[in-house]
């Protein structure tokens, strides 16, 4: 059986980027300010994450002006949707494994749960 952690995409497998994809998947497009506020990030930090996602073809970015104010709109691409679904699926598998451990891989109840890729 394939390890769920093997399905994790290096680009998406990061909390903020997963957040960007999750939020943009819920709308036709999302404005930079909403992402920044919801994910509680600085503008510079969010920009860097967006650049990574755009370079990977997971989001598209559209810049423009509305009422003389610069606006940046972010939309998820089909590739981004697929990457998000894969990541969420892998995370759910990890959680399911931890919640229902096999006899040989029992996890103590009071132990902090970490992903399989943790060092």
């Amino acid at each position: 059986m394939t390890e769920p952690s093997n399905s994790l995409d290096e680009v998406v497998h990061q909390r903020t980027r997963l957040g960007i994809l999750t939020i943009t998947h819920e709308a036709q497009r999302v404005e930079f300010g909403f992402l920044q506020e919801t994910l509680e990030l600085t503008a510079g930090n969010l920009s860097r994450h967006l650049q990574v996602l755009e370079a990977a073809g997971l989001v598209s970015i559209e810049k423009g002006y509305e009422a003389r104010r610069a606006k940046t709109w972010v939309a998820i691409t089909r590739r981004g949707v697929k990457a998000l679904q894969n990541e969420i699926g892998a995370l759910k598998q990890i959680v399911a494994r931890v919640e229902k451990p096999s006899r040989t891989q029992a996890v103590p109840r009071n132990r902090t749960l970490r992903l399989a890729t943790d060092p």
Partner: protein, 258 residues
């Protein structure tokens, strides 16, 4: 850099759920079309006051009119009968339904600019307007209102079924709300749309005044059609208020601005 490995997968999934819920709550604007179409439906009420039911066209004491060839069919036709539910109802719907859809599209665009979250609404408006065009266009060959036995050739049967009470546009509105439910990924709105479509069918096929009478309320002469308009209108209005309140409650709980 903070990574998923820094926390449990379960925490990340919970965060994702919270982000998703907040984005959906901000994006949802379905209360507006529900309230808008509810008000437009209620505003049509005076047109349904059938004050010209008598005299009959040939001077009879009583007469029966055909259920086929309703007023929406040909709003500008000079039909042989104008039995109270006249051309004005048709004209009203032909103007009111597009107004409702265009106002909805405008509202969603305004909301997207204000909140930073843009949802899709055009497909619902396009399908709604296309259905209205088909409904009106299919009756252009019909030639207006008809007496029983008048040929009704050239008209799609499913559409004929709903003619007679001037409330066909309620179905157009209901289907539009159903499509909006899909676009908003809201099963609650989908259930609401299904209930409204059922109510719209009832209003088109049955005289709700019979139930009003059973409740002990005696409507004045000429007001018999009003329940068929008022009940769906109130249903939309109350539903819209409910969705508005629910979205505000979700956003308030998350500390966001609606």
């Amino acid at each position: 850099m903070e990574s998923v490995e820094g926390g449990a997968a379960g925490d990340v999934l919970r965060d994702a759920k919270t982000w998703r819920a907040r984005t959906r709550a901000v994006r949802h604007g379905c209360w507006f079309p529900l309230v808008m179409f509810g008000l437009l439906t209620l505003a049509a009420t005076p047109l349904f006051w059938a004050k010209d039911l008598t005299p009959c066209p040939n001077g009879e004491v009583t007469c029966t009119f055909s259920a086929s060839g309703g007023p929406l069919g040909n709003p500008f036709a000079q039909g042989p009968l104008d039995w109270g539910l006249g051309r004005w109802i048709s004209l009203y719907w032909v103007l009111a339904v597009p107004l409702g859809y265009f106002a909805t599209v405008f509202y969603y665009r305004h909301r997207a600019r204000r909140t930073g979250v843009a949802g899709r609404v055009w497909p619902a408006a396009i399908v709604g307007l296309a259905l209205l065009v088909v409904m009106v266009g299919s009756f252009e060959s019909h030639g207006g209102l008809h007496l029983p036995g008048h040929p009704t050739w050239g008209i799609p049967v499913p559409i004929i079924l709903f003619q007679g009470r001037g409330l066909d546009p309620l179905l157009v509105i209901g289907i539009g709300v159903g499509i909006l439910a899909g676009l908003e990924r809201s099963w609650v709105l989908a259930v609401f749309a299904a209930m409204f479509i059922a109510l719209a069918l009832l209003a088109n096929l049955y005289d709700l005044q019979n139930q009003v009478y059973r409740l002990g309320w005696h409507l004045p002469a000429g007001a018999g059609y009003l329940p068929n308009v008022v009940v769906p209108g109130l249903f939309l209005l109350i539903g819209g208020a409910g969705f508005w309140w629910a979205d505000r409650r979700v956003l308030h709980g998350m500390g966001g601005n609606p």
